[in-house]
Symmetry: C2
């Protein structure tokens, strides 16, 4: 009897870290960021179509492991992501992730991918897409507070999508700033390493805060923030972890992805339950105002939402058509007769 | 500059369908079932240590996609599983699954595996482990109602763990019974294909119901069930899907895995919220009685719980030491300096 070769249905596409890097270089990182921002904006525009649920978190003393599922009725996606701030000290990533896209009509998985890199890209694309709606017109200077793994992606996305050309960088660890400057030099930015957060925000139209400690921290205090600025606060992203003094929140118009999740994880976890926020998808559809004047402080309390990962998975699937950087994985048992799983197992014994 | 080879941390082990089949044959399917039953029983015994949550389901008109996470504080596991009853008509599996084990202390994934086969094995092992506590002593005859993909696994597990040697098989589709008989003949069972469910349950000490329609069905009516029998009802496993007439439930002592999930998905979804059930882990630890006399009807309302998948993942990890049927997958981005994700991406460009 011939070996029972798995049918095509038994395979899903898998994008490894190596293939993801090849794909990004093949397309160009700034093009990827711009494309991702467009996919994310498109999905925000059809926000009401999605199944939404706060992420499913498993907390431990050391960190958190989360599953972030969503579906638009045609495709189903989820991401596995951990957050372990102490990992860095052991030479490990704070955040690693992978994700999956499946068909709703059959439930069959289609695409499995590394998402550590893809998450860094989609997070930056989301920040920049939001800033394109909220930041003051003609913004060119960004303060980048926290110069870790996310910082260069933020810088490139803010340039590609919002026209930022000057970066004022600060990190509590000087070596992180040196790393970021080293990676970004030669890419055409004006780079200004700063000794304090106060120095970093001088003249900045956009302030990005992206620090990693799992604790209530005050990276920005009220007196540091001036009229007309846009704050892109993405480091406050789990319970017990914030970056901004609450007085800033009361002075700003706060924009969020999905309020039930942001109230648990974002900067606004410091505020009462009924603290007023605007959902970003409503700004994009025109249902709610974004920036209304040039004195207003806008604040994006970004925690990362499943729909952004879904957009990134959709984008990847579409790009794989022209950039086939994937392997095939035999992860679905697919006997000829679907009721004959045991027969498939038994027949495989003979080979 | 040398190519930045991914470090060992960048890899996780992946068990494909093909490797799972090799592993099962290398160990022997009945040994696997017995070992799995022991792992599952061990985890039921330490039930209180686990993070438990009802599965996270995404329902559609065609079926459901579910994520089933759990953790014992050291390891974290989850399973992706779909349930699409109409798939069979299109030549697809009703249920496909894959799963992952990760370390809680770092959040790093360790092991990714197909779980369509592994779920079939753990479901059968769970049924038999439960029956070893609840079925009448000396049971040798099982009625197997529903002869689909799960049936042969149930048969083998019930023999390996409970001593069943006679199977009375019934399916609404005669071809399914023929398939099961074809697969099981030569494996040492007394096989009795039956024309009706009534005929199938004659003289059976254990009745297994395992049918697949997503609808309220009545596979067993009250007059069919006699004193002293054990019912292993595993086909009622999602909202709107049951197999037993509710009168059977009122006459039986009902045992479940995790009540918050079973009340939504199991046979007892037909009963009031406060319908009395016994948690199986308490029977195993001795905290609650199991079978107390030989007239009692015991009923396992099995829907499948995340801890059983966790046990199966643990088992697989342990067996891979001696049976290295796996590939390595480059799914975790692991730069030398964890803050230098962008640098890793940039350096990969040159190769």
């Amino acid at each position: 009897m011939p070996a029972p070769a798995p049918s095509e249905l038994a395979f899903i596409r898998f994008v490894s870290v190596e293939n993801m890097m090849k794909l990004v270089h093949s397309i160009g990182v700034e093009t990827v960021l711009k494309d991702l921002a467009r996919y994310i904006e498109d999905d925000f525009r059809r926000w009401e179509k999605f199944d939404k649920t706060p992420r499913v978190a498993s907390h431990s003393a050391e960190g958190v492991i989360e599953l972030m599922p969503t579906s638009d009725g045609e495709d189903y996606g989820f991401k596995y992501v951990n957050g372990h701030p102490k990992n860095t000290k052991e030479g490990l990533q704070t955040v690693t992730a992978f994700g999956l896209l499946a068909r709703v009509d059959t439930g069959y998985p289609e695409l499995l991918t590394e998402m550590t890199l893809l998450t860094a890209l989609r997070t930056a694309a989301t920040s920049a897409m939001v800033a394109s709606h909220l930041a003051p017109k003609g913004a060119r200077v960004m303060a980048m507070i926290g110069n870790g793994a996310q910082s260069e992606f933020q810088a490139l996305a803010m340039r590609a999508i919002c026209g930022i050309d000057t970066l004022r960088l600060y990190d509590i660890d000087r070596a992180a700033t040196e790393k970021a400057v080293g990676n970004l030099k030669g890419l055409g930015f004006d780079l200004v390493p700063c000794a304090t957060p106060e120095e970093a925000i001088e003249g900045a139209q956009i302030i990005t805060t992206c620090t990693a400690d799992k604790q209530y921290a005050t990276i920005l205090t009220d007196n540091m923030v001036g009229a007309g600025q846009h704050i892109n606060a993405i480091g406050g992203d789990c319970p017990g972890k914030t970056e901004l003094h609450k007085d800033i929140l009361t002075r700003s118009d706060v924009f969020v992805e999905y309020p039930p999740q942001t109230r648990i994880e974002g900067e606004i976890q410091q505020m009462p339950e009924d603290f007023s926020v605007t959902e970003m998808w409503q700004v994009i559809t025109g249902a709610a105002p974004g920036r209304v004047n040039d004195r207003q402080i806008t604040l994006f309390d970004g925690v990362g939402f499943a729909i952004e990962d879904f957009s990134a998975l959709r984008y990847l699937r579409d790009r794989l058509k022209d950039h086939p950087f994937y392997q095939e994985l035999d992860i679905i048992a697919d006997p000829d007769d679907p009721r004959d799983l045991f027969g498939m197992l038994e027949r495989s014994k003979q080979h």
